[in-house]
């Protein structure tokens, strides 16, 4: 099946190619459409991706200005109508700034940009994004962010945990989750969360950068394969 995916381009977006390559890889080479942030309506799509980058330079707060883009109204409508939206890194920040996912992403606790590999644990598998993994599976991903420190108040965190909305947590390669395995100070080691209806996922790490052993790994591939499978069903 060929996936109709759209990638939103904000000024300063820079991981749209990485994402397009990953999506094309699982959809028989079909390239996703690129959607400019000034658009107000969307073509028919199965999936919208908000990719990584530094939208508007990450000035003021990461994702804050992008969340106010004209296109975001259409993205929100799409999600409210049950559409699937994936936000990675800057895309995750935009989703929280737009209020489409709870919480916020603060400056990394170490106050430095993190450009490195890290492991994360798959915390739930009942979404198209996570169904390709086993519960508790440890996957290796690329981190590339300065503001990935997930914050929400305790009530929100408890609700997310209770509803199975914590999708990924930072972990050691052997699967432990502790302060020592938390690269950026995120509350409860949260690397990604999913909406209650399991259709909107936001995560800081970059699964799209590990879809080819040549580039160092393919632990991200099951996410994209799962998306295609899920949306074909």
């Amino acid at each position: 099946m060929s996936l109709r995916a759209g990638i939103v381009l904000f000024p300063g977006t820079n991981r749209e190619r990485d994402m397009a390559i990953a999506l094309a890889k699982v959809s028989g080479g079909r390239e996703p459409v690129m959607i400019w942030h000034k658009e107000t309506s969307l073509p028919p799509l199965d999936l919208i991706v908000l990719p990584g980058g530094f939208s508007h330079g990450d000035y003021l707060r990461c994702g804050a200005m992008a969340a106010q883009s004209p296109v975001m109204r259409a993205v929100r409508d799409f999600a409210e109508a049950g559409g699937h939206v994936l936000g990675v890194c800057n895309g995750f920040q935009i989703l929280t700034e737009a209020g489409m996912l709870p919480g916020a992403l603060l400056r990394n606790a170490g106050l430095r940009f993190l450009g490195q590999d890290h492991s994360m644990r798959v915390e739930q598998t009942d979404s198209i994004y996570t169904s390709g993994y086993a519960q508790g599976q440890i996957i290796r991903v690329v981190l590339a962010h300065g503001d990935g420190n997930y914050f929400a108040d305790t009530a929100t965190l408890d609700r997310l945990e209770g509803e199975g909305q914590v999708a990924f947590r930072y972990a050691s390669p052997s699967g432990e989750v502790s302060d020592a395995t938390n690269p950026n100070g995120s509350q409860r080691g949260i690397a990604g969360i999913i909406s209650a209806n399991r259709r909107v996922l936001g995560l800081m790490p970059h699964p799209e950068d590990y879809v080819d052993p040549l580039m160092g790994g393919e632990d991200g591939l099951p996410m994209f394969a799962g998306i295609v499978q899920g949306l074909a069903a």
């Binding site: 003021l60 200005m65 916020a104 106050l111 914050f151």
Partner: protein
């Protein structure tokens, strides 16, 4: 008029930057340093000449864009 919007993290939100600054100041030999909080300040030149209206406008800007009220609080001053 000029509106000055000061944006600080809310009290319950950990402020690693403030903490790092406090730590660095101590390392530099300054003492008697308690809590340190880091925030942002945005100074806006506004065409508006009525102080009340300018303040209201700046507050609207803060609500909409300048502050993220999930984690931040703000105050507006008009000069």
């Amino acid at each position: 008029m000029k509106a000055i919007v000061t944006v600080m993290l809310k009290p319950g939100v950990l402020d690693p930057q403030g903490r790092a600054i406090g730590h660095a100041l101590e390392t530099l030999g300054f003492d008697g340093i308690g809590d340190v909080r880091a925030g942002k300040i945005i100074e806006l030149e506004l065409a508006e000449t009525d102080a009340g209206k300018a303040k209201a406008a700046a507050e609207a800007m803060a609500d909409k864009l300048l502050a993220n009220t999930v984690i931040e609080s703000y105050r507006v001053e008009v000069v």
